[in-house]
Subunit: 456 residues, 2 copies
């Protein structure tokens, strides 16, 4: 480990500068106006892989944004680690809430503020630098393959096709991903599961045009009100989701699993204070960690109807729209849940309106067994780097392609992330702690060391 | 009437051209970026009044947009009619739904398409031209005063002050307003009442920032969902508003009034077909005309929260907002209803969120007695011009200052409008039929004739 720390110390500034360069690309995959920037980010990533020592680096074309591939095969008898990450980022808006520009990385209090600082550029770039470190110190004990895509934030639609068409090239023993968080740097943790995702847009149409709310108000159904009523009906008084069949496939945790999950430090007063809320909220009968890690949810991600500009406009709107997503847990299936939602929403909509439900990308929930070689290697690496064993946690977010990797490549994924819940992913003023960035670069080579040992 | 029709015929094109010039000004009072245009519209109106023959024409400054005044006093012993109108217009958006630009008046099928064509430029300008006609044909039998303001669409906040400060100048026997509609040109009608208005904005705040819906979804209340639940609760299963005390001051119609109201032609199939809806909607136990004319309502005019751009963003939003307005009937009071709403909304909001309620402009409901001299004069004028007696109707919309006129000047208002429900007020592709424009110019001088006679 001394060798590792020395290398990081000697290259501290450059490691940061290169990340800042990466962060400056506004690689927003959701918005077509950033297309050129997304493509430049792919090229930058490929260049950095080459400079780190990777072979066969390729910016692989897809029907959408390219996937950057690179590898180092040291010995075909050694285990192979497949590193996944994504170089695209969430949209930055609302812009006016950022203290400094989202694509001008700025350091405050030891934190890097930028869109993508944590999700996922800061995190995947640690792997590129850890690889460089192992190459430079001649300590790479495994084969390594990189697969860095550009569409994770919009559903990774072309990744599945790429994986299916490149099974030989991607052959590996484990997938390694840093796109999740730890409880804290004092209480490091390892993700043992991720929730799945079902995402839909709904449109409720009343009259065929916006109407004067005086002339027609009271005689014509208002789609905004109807949509509000439908949304309101989706949770009962125990905040349990009311879609028939929704919970059929949900697996309850064992008592041991619940105990391990709830053993993680949790200070509800600080949690509430950090978020500025008076009360937490959630499904009755479950703790906060259970609610975010082991229970499925339904959230309104966006809703809009009528006049939303400055001042008053007395309109009875023609349409009302919402973006709704559900987080899923094992063994719920994303397609099945999407179907259940669509049928339910369509059925309960009253005859005064027409509704349209459009599914977006989905993803399956996953669980990584804690007795696997890969998990053990990560556990040992973190214990060595942090001086304390990591707590097993269940993540609330989704990385839809983890289930895909298992299905197509037959391998498990280790989710060894170094982010923090305070990183404000998907929000304004996203950040990544500099300490965590270097800590990740330090820990990752230890994973390779232990993975190689345990695989012998 | 022959003299009237002759004059209109001889000046047909000019009457239309001048209105088109007026329509070209984008006098949008709700949006500050149109300020210069609004002021130019006031000047144009003043110029036209002068050209028509008015004396003491003045663009009167207020704390907001000016009020245009002009008068013709022929004989202090004659009755005086005070004509009210507004030269400001609704915002034109959504722009992409207009077939031709909103401020480039275009004729299709005998209709003038432009923002403000009916509400209110086409209608108030009929009065300016009717005045010119009476001056040119030497048939003006009453004194006439014009008061054309520029803030009706944003609440007429400075009109009350102007009226209070100019009681002498504005002394009159009746207020005459054309800002409402008739059932049709075949079944002319006269408005006997208008609904009042209470307009508010609500803001529901959950966490102090947008959150990642995976990390926090299920553990933190979503303000969009909470707002939906609150809105959903405002109407019960009979579409009756649930705010305590809301209906306390509502006056039911007499059987005779209901009969007169429901005698107006109503074809529900055509009504539904025109709006593209499968079913009408409304308070159980009331007909469509009763629902829009005699019953109070609550409408969501706008709602927005979270990510509403292109594509998917898995955010748990910090805030959710809505614009909500209520139409009121006699004898509900606007301030009282605003208070009841605010108290109720604040009280039923759960402790997971904070709510803020901000009132906008309001207005009182009004009724014009059908046995008054003014109403009789309008009735006779329409009967003469159309060859059929007008049906008395109750308007759904609000003109808040009508109650103000009664309170401050002690006089009633006659609502003699020539619009049609199909005019798409407040919507894209607002229009005014050319036939109605000329018909109004023809009918208005007859009002003056009968008003002068009946006042003797």
């Amino acid at each position: 480990m001394q060798v590792i720390r020395q290398y990081i110390d000697n290259n501290k500034q450059r490691l940061l500068d290169e990340l800042f360069d990466l962060l400056r690309f506004p690689s927003v995959s959701a918005d077509p106006k950033y297309k050129a920037d997304v493509l430049k980010t792919a090229d930058y990533t490929a260049t950095k892989l080459r400079e780190a020592g990777a072979d066969n680096v390729e910016v692989c074309q897809t029907a959408g944004y390219p996937i950057v591939y690179g590898e180092k095969i040291i010995d075909s008898s050694k285990p192979t680690v497949l590193v996944y990450g994504h170089y695209d980022v969430q949209p930055p808006d609302p812009l006016e809430l950022w203290e400094t520009p989202p694509f001008e990385p700025t350091v405050r209090d030891g934190k890097i503020y930028a869109r993508g600082a944590c999700d996922d550029k800061g995190q995947f770039y640690m792997h590129v630098k850890a690889f460089e470190l192992m190459m430079q110190t001649n300590t790479l004990p495994c084969n390594i393959k990189f697969m860095i895509e550009g569409e994770e934030e919009v559903g990774s639609n072309n990744l599945g096709i790429f994986v299916k068409e490149n099974k030989e090239r991607l052959k590996a023993d484990v997938v390694l991903i840093s796109d999740t968080s730890m409880l804290s740097m004092e209480t490091p943790s390892l993700e043992t599961g991720l929730r799945g995702l079902s995402y839909l847009e709904v449109e409720v149409t009343g009259p065929n045009r916006d109407l004067h709310s005086g002339v027609y108000g009271g005689a014509v159904a208002n789609p905004a009100t109807i949509l509000a009523k439908i949304i309101a009906s989706l949770h009962d008084e125990n905040n349990h989701i009311t879609i028939p069949g929704f919970y059929d496939d949900v697996m309850e945790l064992t008592d041991a699993e619940k105990e391990a999950l709830n053993s993680a430090p949790y200070n509800e007063e600080e949690y509430k204070k950090d978020l500025g809320i008076a009360e937490v909220w959630g499904e009755k009968g479950y703790s906060t960690f259970e609610r975010t890690g082991t229970r499925p949810t339904l959230e309104v991600n966006g809703i809009w109807s009528g006049y939303i500009g400055e001042g008053a406009k007395t309109v009875l709107p023609s349409k009302a729209n919402a973006k709704i997503s559900m987080r899923l847990v094992p063994n719920q299936g994303s397609d099945k849940i999407t179907q259940l939602f669509t049928e339910h929403f369509t059925r309960i909509a009253p005859s005064y309106v027409k509704v349209k439900v459009t599914p977006h990308h989905g993803g399956e929930p996953v669980v990584t067994p804690t007795d696997s070689v890969a998990y053990q290697a990560a556990q040992k690496a973190i214990t060595e780097a942090f001086g304390i064993e990591p707590i097993p946690t269940r993540g609330g977010g989704s990385i839809p392609i983890v289930a895909l990797f298992e299905a197509e490549l037959g391998i498990k994924t280790v989710l060894m992330g170094f982010g923090l819940d305070s990183d404000a992913l998907h929000s304004p003023n996203e950040k990544y702690d500099i300490y965590n960035y270097y800590k990740g670069i330090e820990t990752i080579p230890l994973f390779y060391k232990h993975f190689a040992h345990l695989s012998e």
